[in-house]
Symmetry: C5
Subunit: 330 residues, 5 copies
């Protein structure tokens, strides 16, 4: 689907709607370039674009299949750029990745967006308000899109940071949860995010140093700024990785601790019950003795035999109770 198609002359957008064929022609005017935005184009649409701008077969193949790693390829006089967009989904604390492919020639930009990648309409409006940059031609569009994509990594960093803090609270609270699965899922996301962002540093280095043909040297400072933001993202993500490894380890300690606390309480209960059983066993034994049927048991005939026996029982129980108490068993 063609989203937008416009010709830029001397840093300004030529007004009015534009058919694809008109755009092709316009792209050959001096000081002009055309920016075509495609969204999951079908074969036919893409084929027309491909033939018009003579895009390299390998780049085209990559653009259709997607699932590439971020990269910047130079083909003779045109560039092929693959970008990974990232979005933090609040609903399920997950990160969603999209892809934007750019074909950049001396007088054209073809931007191919794949499904979850966010629309570039905002980027277009933003860069259209900067004729000073647009005068640099297609490279200005590359700058604008890169800037947006990298800026959009920040909310993901914030979301992951929030998640890690939640997980920390879980781990160190005394409510006995086990966030091992969540920690692991975060680690997975962080690794994926790293793979989506880190390979972009190398192309940005080349852009910042003005080593990419067709990109005006004066734009180097702009790309350097993006690279710094990207480096911040990459360093933060690498810090996340190390933190998550530590928290997985800390969680093991905490889980062990919490469970052992439960076990100890159970053991203390058992000790208490057993201690009571032991106390009751003593009067039972004494009663058993005076329940024997020997003919000659002098105590049985004493007037105070019964009260004495009861007293003996009571004394035994009290002594035991105190002893157990002293040991901390009751």
């Amino acid at each position: 689907m063609i989203i937008d198609c416009a010709v830029y002359e001397d840093g300004k957008r030529r007004p009015g709607e534009l058919a694809l064929e008109e755009a092709y022609e316009a792209a050959f005017a001096e000081h002009a370039f055309v920016w075509i935005g495609l969204y999951e184009p079908d074969e036919a649409e893409f084929d027309s674009v491909r033939r018009e701008f003579n895009l390299h077969e390998l780049a085209v193949e990559d653009a259709i299949i997607a699932h590439e790693r971020p990269k910047l390829e130079v083909y003779d006089d045109s560039l092929f750029v693959v970008l990974k967009t990232a979005r933090y989904i609040e609903a399920d604390d997950s990160v969603e990745f999209g892809e934007i492919m750019l074909f950049i020639g001396p007088q054209f930009v073809v931007a191919v967006r794949h499904k979850p990648a966010s629309a570039l309409g905002g980027v277009r409006r933003q860069i259209e308000s900067r004729p000073d940059l647009l005068r640099f031609g297609p490279a200005a569009v590359l700058y604008a899109i890169l800037d947006r994509v990298v800026d959009d990594y920040q909310p993901v960093i914030d979301g992951l940071d929030e998640d890690i803090k939640e997980v920390e609270t879980d781990v160190f609270s005394h409510e006995g949860g086990n966030p091992a699965e969540r920690i692991y899922q975060l680690k997975r996301e962080v690794i994926e995010f790293h793979q989506a962002t880190a390979p972009l540093t190398e192309p940005l280095d080349r852009l910042a140093q003005g080593l990419v043909p067709g990109v005006h040297g004066a734009m180097g400072e702009y790309f350097r700024d993006i690279r710094d933001h990207l480096l911040r993202v990459v360093e933060t993500v690498s810090g996340f990785r190390e933190l998550l490894t530590s928290i997985l380890q800390a969680n093991l300690t905490q889980v062990a601790l919490q469970q052992n606390e439960v076990a100890m309480r159970q053991n203390a209960d058992m000790r208490k019950i057993s201690a009571w059983v032991a106390i009751v066993a003593v009067p039972t034994m004494i009663a058993g003795i005076y329940g024997m049927n020997f003919e000659y048991m002098p105590e049985l005939t004493w007037t105070f035999g019964y009260p004495l026996a009861l007293s003996a029982m009571a004394v035994a129980c009290i002594v035991l109770y105190r002893a157990f108490r002293r040991n901390g068993w009751l």
Copy 2:
């Protein structure tokens, strides 16, 4: 065993079957080269090829013994390339590695395939449909084979990814399994896969930058494309390694957790049984007391002595039962 042997002239295959000797001659025609496919060749077959194309003794030795690491060696005017093929075996979730050795000269390609490596017939047909590439000579064949070998890594990545997801499910399900062995075996496979793929990046870098003699500079873009795919594979594999380390750790936590849950349930059972024994011990003691044979036990002669004793027992039991209940022991 000779699999296929063909001469290519000006990007097209010369029709008809070809004996090895004819191929040797043909290889000296202008704008022509011969592609000989061998499958675990015996000494005699290989010796003829070796002498004809003057292959380097060290390369030949490596090709026969196999078990080399992936590499690209330049010998004067010829190349020796070692590739590791990988195939995911669905049946037992394992990865099988094969080897392909290529001897590439100005006018010949000798491809030696070792056992589990998949056949190159498909590659041959594919590249034969691209006369524009075949015109670059033997380097086009190198491209075609490299492209296939690296593309074939993707299903292995998919299979390993699938396995890791299964293992995750195992670890975090509450069914009490212990997939430690499987995690470890995956780690082993991932390390082996890394060793089979990562060393290939360096030769591909050299090919992409046009630093390999005998490879036309215009092919650089094609090798760059393969290198990007390979880098994606290597990065994913390195992510797998880190994930598997984390999951081994998480598994320890989960195993500890699940087992402690069992232990706690057992402890709770013990506590319950002991509590009942404790309850029963009290009426037993009371009964023991009134079973004593003292002559002077006034209660024994009371009309309501027996019912009172029974009531005392019942009350004691009820009181204990309630107390234990309150403590959560019953």
Copy 3:
């Protein structure tokens, strides 16, 4: 807010207070430069400065938003430097980070300080006492500020070292604490501190090697000295990371050990109680036997039946007691 604004001529501060506009003019005198200190400037103040010295829009944007990584950017004839200050807060054993941004041109220094960063008044007085350095112009101010910022990392290192030693004592004392959370928080701080300091090495390398335009080569030695101090900080921090990983592991061992000691003591208690119950059960059984009502029980009629029975009970108890004692159960 404008903190201080002074003109330096031939290494000396021109006396008297100075309005911003006067400073602008003064900055164009020969052998003179102006140093303007801003503290969280509002838009208006900053805008005047920006226009006067023609600061680059990207640098200005970064300076207002803050939260940048440490860096040194070269824009035509001016530098933009971002520094992270760090302060150890004794009260809650935490580390607080601030930011200082410097815009350095041939004849001006604009220092923008963000909130928790400490005041630069002391730095100003210190460098003013070194006219030999001030003669190098704005680079001397850069040196003075960098020197202070890096020197201020040392108390943080000391504080963290102290914390780690406290945590070690906690882990290996036998008081049964679990400093897992504190270890983790230290790890977090150490990672943050690393991210604030390590990226500064690269700019300092460039300064030390005299690769930064506008910085006199003779100042290289001074920047080299700062770089060495920074490297010491970075290496110590990296040692802290490894130590904290080890101590988290050691803590798991210690926690396991301490808890198992508790569990073993509980188990030993249970064994003791059960052993006593077992001892008491034996006379109870004997008493039960002689409490049976059989008509023909010869022992019951013996004169010494009762004492014999009591003796049997006593002997059984003593034998059992000794046996249990021997086994270490009592």
Copy 4:
């Protein structure tokens, strides 16, 4: 001890035994070089050699003390090479390291072998059968010895691989062993092996690229071949390190698992015994009740009192037994 001493002329060994002094002379003939093999030489023997060939004092010192790391040093017109040999001792699954030092000049090779290093007689015979290589002079001997030393690493790799597989079997079998010590000892050996092999890559790189003076460029391919074999060894060893770390972790899980299984079985036993005690306690209590001596206990006079009491006991036992059974306690 002098093991062998021979002069090689034009790629062939001059026949006959040779005294050391004759060898010295012979070494100055054109197209000739002498190869002296020493085995733990005493001071006197070595001193003669040292003076004759003017060996560097530092190299000589290193050669006598041994315990050096693998290296290749260039001294003016001679080389000093230190190699670590490794041998797998089947008897106790250990790895034994030896040392070979080579002094290589334009017309001499002095090979000093330290104790556990294997004899070089085989290498001598092998290279003597290759006059084409021997013509390159002493560098051919360097090649031959390096080739042998690196080839000899392979059996060590195989032995360690075998050991690791045995340890895996131990860890994941259900026989309850704890191979922690063996895993650790393997790790120790693997680290030592890495230290013996990895530093050799750098000298081999230099040899392969023809950067070592006195080594003919045409030999580069031969050294490149050795380097590839060495890289394979180093990569495999590094894989072993990671595997052993994982298996130590997996072992902890397995040990925990196996022991908890034992503990659970013990707990289940306790529960069973306690349940039986609880069952027996109930008829004991009933019997106790009807053993009381109250004058007015109507049941005692019933004709069917006794059978009813017995039935009550039996019923209580059966009910309890069923309940416990249902709970899985019996």
Copy 5:
């Protein structure tokens, strides 16, 4: 404190004691240099030296404060070198670090030693016996001191190796110790030792390659020798780090194992005691039954009632005993 102060001319020490002022003069003679050894100099002493040789203020500052990382700085025509000495203290198995600072100019060496660093008198005597080296001037002194400092690392390596072996024995012995704290302290020392030694490799590389001004190229071989020894130290230390990480993990396994063995023995005891209680409970119940007072209990009147009851009890006990025995409970 001035330890020693001597002038060296043409490789030989000028005889006799020398006051500082004389030394200054002597240092300007041709082919002569002065070597001044200071031990924790006070301000005044140092100030005289500083002014005489025109030492750089930053170097002087570092030399007084100490606590620098090892480094070699080039200031115009002089060098400033910081070395960390290490000594293994047998008494408490700890490592003690000292510092030596060297100021090296074309005609002077000033060696500043800080407290725990060992005296350099031996180094002085050693190098004085090598006029061939001393002729190279102050660089020879640098060589001699570096050689000694690096040689002195070896006993530390040996001591740490010994400690690690002791800890291994502790971990894998079956005496139930927990060397976690000692392992951790070793890790700490090893990290500190690494920080004291590893940064020295870079200066030694520069010295070995002859890239340091004022050091004669012919001395490169000597510094290369030291660098190799240092690399050996650094590699061994890095092996220690990995070993200690593994042993901490192995210790966790062993501690868990040993404690569980204790717990299992306790559990087995409990099971045994409970089993005996269960056995005794059965005759107690039988006795209870025949102790009931029912009027119609035919067994009571049987002549053999009593012996039969006793037999029933005995049989019950024997049967239970055998069953428990069979289950392994007794």
